[in-house]
Symmetry: D2
Subunit: 350 residues, 4 copies
């Protein structure tokens, strides 16, 4: 286990804590060298919780103050490009949370910087490391359900996103913030890139929760045609309030496969026969993907130690950004949108 | 479908209504010729509900008043012997609810009367006709899980039994009233008779519900050794309040099989992430065994039409009575009791 | 139960048998007076199975030969209009299987004929009578999950449809033959009419199964926007081979509700730890909707007895036809299609 | 996190590897200082896998060769007393796998040694740390299902135990080797000590697998009466072949609670409608209790760091040994056996 990989956390919020937990308790080959956050409270809270004393209000300050090998970036999407490019340019390996960036151009900048510096770039698609998703992928690859014909993936998140994520211009909205994982895992499991998409969105709860951003929506339903002729559906609801819900269903030529379930902890109780059986639901994404988060970080550190490209890189992040943009353009223009329109034309919802 | 089989319902309570419903709505080959009950209110209620005008306060009166081919007896256990013997002796086919009778001697009397008169005798073990039990039995017979090694069967009923059933002397208690089905189905699915049993019982709720019968218990747990060397467990809880719960689990040399489940109607709801997923439980036994009740009555009528012995007869009822008595003697005497002690000695809990 | 309602079955195929079974065994107030089918073998088979001697090769012949009160029409879609109109015009109540007809104009003809003759018209949407759907509807109405925001409904059927149903011109294809139930139940449960739809379809298995019909597809995925702002998804796969799969999921402002499940009979077996637990799937639609089929026929007969309009009538059938046509036009023209375009313009896929 | 707690693994077999994995990858406050095993192959295998170079063929040799703070003992039961006493006497904290020891006298020796030396003693009842068991315990304590009336706990293990464990004299057999967890968790969750037990056992597979030990059995079913009047059932099957199965069901005065389930990874597949849905089962105990094993070791190390008595100590281990002995005596003597007979008389199956 020799030399520890020193990681600087950039972003001390909720996702930052999840990764800190993995690094501190479950990835013995790594250590948290420092934490960066512009918000003093988040910095103090996360620093105290994980016993990290080196705290900075900017990545630049961290680069001046401490030595480290890699960054784990969990800040808002609109900051990803500048932080990731900076880190890559000074030779730090980059773990970047989804969505990778706001535009295809930004994705290209990040990938270019990483390539030029020869650093590794991993995108935070933890589903790719969740044991049931890994097993499902392998079983599909082995032909168990035959050629996939139709895939459906949903992500419903319990609470209202942070203020910046309510604005499409800063976040690309729910289709990116919440559904990035669906864009990625449908493409991964289908084994094909999306070709065109059609999206419908709706805003049911915004007004009651004081969301005044004009382009806000809290429900999205996307139809996908893949390059290989397969069909796909992505749905997002946030806030859904009832729990964290992430499930995938695939129909292949030989059968059906379901990945994930709503029920969490295996404790079933019935105390009222008018009501019936009650089982815990997954309440939060860290709970739902506990092992996925641990294993993606083990993978990232392992890749650094062995100088191997991560299995989920910039290209994957870029496709998810393209999907979110194509979906957004679709409901803006009320028509199916080809991914090529996004990849070639650089459309953004501004 | 030619000539209808005319049935006289003896007992107009809850079980009587269940069978009336089957006969009137789901067994076109049969008709309800009359109803007998000593309680005028039950008589009126059930008669009105099913449009049966011929109503009597005794089986004797019905025999005088109307023509019919068969009886369906659902009265309290302590009345079974006299009613079944009377019906058989005058040439009526007998469908008799569980428990068959209070003692082995009574069972023998009933079987003897039926045999002498050449009438059919079917015991109300509806699990034998419930589709999932039928399929399970056939799959065990086909060797799917190998030779059964261990079987567990539970019956938990929601509410306090009627007053007469609280007294062991009139009912043999929970081990007979509720667990008759378990005595029968463990023997049926194990493919062997019980050899010896050990029972523990407890009384948790009696006092709070005003049960003053000295020998009342509301929890029972029985260990069984079968003649073929297999092991068994029967448990009963009544009142359990939380629903009607009836499940069986069998471990064979090649694997495990579970029959039945707690969740009823396939509607899952989550509206509170602190609480989780809510699914209806089976609330009552008529709901849980809806098809079992229909099919056992179709079987009975079909047997009459074709003059074929029912697949569940007096011998099966007698073994269940023996089991309940052996279990009762076991907790009375705090020792394992052999079934032979019951079958040979005529022990009763008096 | 007085006078029996005499029913003439028009169509002696699989659906005809399902309804014959309900009428003969579970609806004592009705009787099957005769059977009509152009195929002598089907006629003989179904007639023999249900003991019906009056058999005809056309509805006209049946009208000449026997007395009856109502028809149950289960013939191919392209025959619905003429049969239903004929039956209605001679004063017979009409139970008509889905899809109601091929075009909006045909639907209007049928409804007009029924109205003019004062006969009842019920469409075969058995989900409306399936106990779990009924309970779900009532719980949604009671506000349990709040205002529905998004609804998803799928129907996957195991086998290749009959030859005529492979041709859109004779059947409107999978979106009508299989997904009629989804068009109806999403509209019913959402409490709103569809406003516009976008459909993608694919043909994965046709060639290997010798389907040469040019417009055949075996996978369909539809996005719906409802008039009330809610979103919907319908998917169809046929042949899916793996079983009969029919499930609905609704997200409301207050929570989520799932209706139906894949597992059928409650028998779980494990005999191989590399494979895991095995549970029966619903194999066929008569098995999946056993009670739905019984109860819709009880409803139809009950409506006739009490001269009450059925709860599922021509208007409901017409909306499902409109949905299937809008979906078809959408994938023909690769754009979202408004229902008004179908209802107003009379588009057909010819 | 300051100073690391140095652990010497005593036993390099399967359980040893499970704890090594926890210590190396998930308990950053600890380190594996050395490994002890009499079998060179196990020593090399485990040492290589976890990168531990200090390897010894006896605890004595390890004490001579390296410095450490605690032992984790996973050797066969008949070695527990001497190893645990030795470790305790030289001041090492002791984590001791179940069963604690062979006799009550041995348990007392171990507890005495730990007490005299002032070292901590934790028994390996990982269910107490499995998240769903912890949640269940807390919910029972909070009164959610009322006073527990009946508890059932089963442990079915897939494969034939190691040779020494086939002999009751060296292991106390299945009731100890496999059911130790059930003895502990029923007592824990019921909140009461067992008062008397009755056990039936059977030997179905021994002969076919070449087990010639005269007292071997592979099925056990135990009835328990608890001091508080509650009832209990423990069942064990080993080898069951079909998977690793560990479930608990508790009926309280207010309702029922189920802990654990058979299905493992949430991937459901159906490719054959005659077979149905297939879901992975938990194949092994390390897979089933992945978090329980991690958290019990975090607890042990945390207790050492803070000098706090572990929540699961010698007294708990001793009760489980007493239960296994009482169950064994019961089937030897074919009668219910009081725990007091074991605790007072020192009975052993020799």
């Amino acid at each position: 286990m020799s030399v520890s990989i020193r990681v600087c956390l950039v972003g001390a919020g909720r996702a930052g804590k999840v990764h800190a937990n993995s690094l501190v308790y479950h990835v013995p080959a790594a250590s948290v060298a420092g934490i960066v956050d512009a918000y003093p409270e988040a910095l103090q809270d996360t620093g105290d919780q994980f016993g990290v004393d080196a705290r900075f209000d900017s990545l630049e300050a961290a680069l001046d103050g401490i030595e480290f090998d890699a960054v784990v970036i969990t800040t808002p999407t609109f900051t990803h490009r500048s932080l990731a490019v900076l880190a890559a340019e000074v030779g730090k390996h980059v773990f970047l949370e989804k969505p990778m960036a706001l535009t295809i151009a930004e994705c290209d900048e990040i990938m270019g910087a990483a390539q030029r510096s020869g650093v590794l770039l991993q995108i935070g698609f933890m589903r790719r490391f969740a044991p049931e998703f890994v097993a499902a992928f392998e079983r599909i690859q082995a032909g168990e359900i035959g050629r996939p014909m139709m895939i459906k993936s949903l992500s419903h998140g319990p609470g209202l996103p942070p203020p910046w994520a309510l604005d499409l211009k800063k976040s690309n909205g729910l289709l990116a913030e919440v559904n990035s994982h669906d864009w990625d895992c449908t493409r991964w499991l289908m084994g094909s890139n999306p070709q065109r998409v059609y999206a419908e969105v709706a805003n049911f709860k915004g007004e009651a929760r004081g969301v005044t951003t004009s382009n806000f929506y809290d429900n999205a339903l996307v139809n996908i045609r893949f390059e290989n002729g397969g069909l796909g559906s992505i749905s997002g609801v946030c806030p859904c309030d009832y729990g964290y819900d992430s499930r995938v269903e695939i129909v292949g030529e030989l059968g059906i496969m379901q990945i994930g379930e709503m029920q969490g902890q295996a404790v079933v109780v019935c105390t009222d026969r008018e009501q019936g059986l009650v089982t815990p639901i997954f309440r939060t994404w860290p709970e739902r993907f506990a092992w996925g988060y641990i294993r993606e970080m083990q993978h990232f550190i392992g890749c650094i130690q062995t100088d191997t490209p991560p299995s989920v890189g910039g290209e994957d992040g870029r496709w998810a950004v393209a999907g979110a943009l194509a979906g957004t353009r679709s409901f803006f223009e009320e028509r199916p949108v080809y991914l090529s329109e996004i990849l070639d034309e650089g459309w953004t919802p501004s």
